[in-house]
Amino acid sequence: MRALVFIPAWNEEAAIAGVIADVRKAIPGADLLVVDDGSTDATAERAREARALVASLPFNQGLGAALQTGYLYALRNGYDVCAHLDADGQHPAEEVARLLAEVTADRADLVIGSRYHAGAVAESGDYQPTFSRRIGTSVFRFFLTLATRQRFTDTTSGMRAANRRVMALFSQHYSPDFAEIESLQLAVRQGLRVEELPVRMLERAGGSSFLTPLRSAFFIFKGLVVLLVGQFRPRHVEAE
């Protein structure tokens, strides 16, 4: 089983080297790719210094396009499984290893690391969601569950592991500006086995979250439109 771990990174020069070291230590058997989403700081340089392979997008394209680059790379280069995690240090690599193990054991096609799942334990210094994020999370959780008829607790998690069926789907269809939620809906609609696994997440190591209350509201509105439209998209593979 060849595994690829990729890290979409946009202006994360402070955290990227630490994340790379963490992944190397926790998942020594996997190849590593940093997808630099048109960073204007030294993210790509820091990653190369840490001796990681870097795919640099020539300009900032958004998280969806960066993730798709990773899936496309994994598909083209014949990897059996792949996983991705955020570049800001919120995702411990040993948790990513657990997600990869689920996919490798073929218990699911796509595994999501959930910080809200009942089994996730909170320790001091662990992830504490802000108020606006909590509202957004519950709104998306409700509508995604409605749309997919499958229970999801952490719809915006950027820690995932996937097999080749998912790589093939996501490298073709992936919303550039609403990556996380629409991709879950898409995968379920295509009849793929999507699973959540409770994971630990940490507070951010560097950079700052892009969410302000106004942006959150717009983010939620856009998400709902995307979900609604997604319900009318054609299914490419019929799920029995």
Binding site: L33, V35, D36, R51, L53, V54, A55, S56, L57, P58, F59, Q61, A65, Q68, T69, L72, Y73, R76, N77, P176
Partner: protein
């Protein structure tokens, strides 16, 4: 229907306005031809503009057409019908542009992704060919310094 329209008899276009409109429509279509000739506009995006120009020309040549359209829409005032038709046409054009823009945005994204992957693979191959990357970079730097 045509008879009904003629009976309604609300054509306010004088021959002067009709001539001006026809000249404008012809000028408009010539401008599109010129843009295509100079490669500033692609043929496939010009069709919709030619249709708009022909519509203008038809309206100027046969004012009765507007009456027919107004009747079909159930509008008494032909001016309202005219503006509605033009507004709808412009809306359609704007939507058409959004569709084209979305397609091109997707193409640009894919192009950027392909290029990023190709460059990363080339880097990987270069490292592999040189045994390890650190020693591979030294001759390059030395060459640059000698220049």
């Amino acid at each position: 229907m045509l008879v009904l329209a003629a009976e309604a008899g609300q054509v306010h276009l004088t021959s002067q306005t009709r001539i001006v409109a026809a000249v404008l429509a012809l000028f408009f279509m010539l401008m599109i031809l010129e843009l295509i000739r100079r490669d500033r506009l692609q043929e496939r995006y010009s069709v919709i503009w030619f249709i708009a120009g022909l519509g203008m020309l038809a309206g100027a040549a046969f004012p009765g057409l507007l009456e027919v359209v107004a009747n079909l829409m159930g509008v008494r005032n032909t001016n309202v019908a005219l503006f509605s038709v033009v507004l709808l046409l412009l809306l359609g054009l704007a939507l058409n542009f959004s569709v084209i823009m979305s397609r091109q945005a997707a193409q640009i994204t894919r192009l950027a992704q392909e290029r990023a992957i190709e460059k990363a693979l080339a880097e990987k191959r270069a490292e592999g060919a040189n045994g390890n990357g650190a020693s591979g970079e030294e001759p390059l730097e030395a060459k640059e310094q000698s220049l």
